[in-house]
């Protein structure tokens, strides 16, 4: 008959009938081993000094502040590039030697909608960046 372990399921039947040989360490032993290891680990490896972290945080804070300050400029640059591209496209269309088909109402409406969306997006980004830098 195979013996059963009354407390845990960990173990194998021993050489004599009715005996039980535990194969896994109990919880307390595991906890103790972990804590001993942790104590030795923290004794051997000291964390970096707090001053290093304060310095790193300060450096990052400055970098983020610069990024925030530069964001409106980037947006305006992108907007300028977009406007220049639009103007060039319009000029090419207007003064092209060949005759292109005239813009129909749907295309015109789509163009206006896209431009409005782009402008609204730029305004929202500018507004957001102003709010975070405040």
């Amino acid at each position: 008959m195979t013996p059963t372990n009354p407390t845990t399921n960990s173990g194998v039947p021993g050489p004599d009938s009715g005996t039980w040989v535990p194969t896994k360490p109990p919880d307390d032993q595991l906890r103790q081993s972990f804590r001993t290891y942790a104590a030795a680990l923290s004794a051997d490896h000291t964390p970096p000094p707090a001053a290093a972290i304060l310095f790193r945080a300060e450096r990052r804070r400055r970098r983020l502040a610069i990024e925030r300050a530069e964001r409106p400029l980037l947006i305006m640059q992108s907007l300028g590039t977009l406007c220049a591209a639009g103007t060039l496209a319009w000029l090419a269309y207007r003064f092209a030697p060949h005759t292109l088909p005239a813009l129909n109402t749907t295309t015109l409406a789509l163009t206006i909608a896209c431009t409005t969306l782009i402008l609204a997006g730029c305004w929202a980004m500018l507004h957001a960046s102003r709010r975070t830098s405040a």
Binding site: V12, V21, T23, L30, T36, Y37, P48, A50, I53, R61
Partner: protein
């Protein structure tokens, strides 16, 4: 001579620095050991510890309402998330330089634990460390790791069994 406003600002800054140093002294060693045990690399542990506390310093408003225990759990959560980010980014070269303690009075146990941790998955290492070293219960582990409470229970049970298998005496069933 500095004006009263400047003086107040200086006092506030030095106070917050003092508070940070106190908080750091209370938690840094534990979090550092946790990061060392899970990542098994000193450079990674140092870097992630700095990043954890940096985030705390950069977003003070999100932690101002927390008490010391909640703050501790918050720090462990940030550290855990950073470990997972590192793991997801593909930097999975653990145990290149296993941090084996040298001042341990019982080197065999320590070696066993180090070897056992090597064999476990990062999540299992996290759970076991939080449960056995930090003494957290399921709810605390859940809040420190972002896992569901029931998942913590199941995963911890499996991890514990796996750990016990690894630490079983020679000749025992594996």
């Amino acid at each position: 001579m500095p004006s009263s406003l400047e003086h107040a600002a200086t006092t506030a800054a030095s106070l917050s620095e003092l508070a940070f140093q106190r908080l750091y002294e209370a938690n840094a060693t534990n979090i550092h050991s946790y990061l060392l045990a899970v990542s098994a690399r000193r450079d990674v542990a140092d870097d992630l510890l700095q990043e954890t506390f940096c985030r705390l310093l950069l977003h003070p408003q999100s932690t101002s309402h927390l008490d010391s225990l909640e703050l501790r759990r918050y720090l462990f959560r940030v550290a855990t998330n950073l470990l997972r980010d590192r793991h997801r980014s593909g930097d999975t070269t653990p145990y290149a330089d296993p941090p084996e303690p040298t001042t341990n009075p019982t080197p065999d146990t320590s070696l066993d634990i180090a070897r056992m941790l090597q064999a476990l998955k990062p999540r299992e290492r996290e759970l076991l460390w939080l449960a056995y070293v930090e003494g957290m219960d399921h709810a605390e582990i859940s809040s420190a790791t972002g896992l569901n409470r029931l998942s913590v229970r199941t995963l911890l049970f499996r991890a514990r069994n796996k750990a016990k298998q690894f630490l079983a005496p020679v000749g025992g069933s594996r």
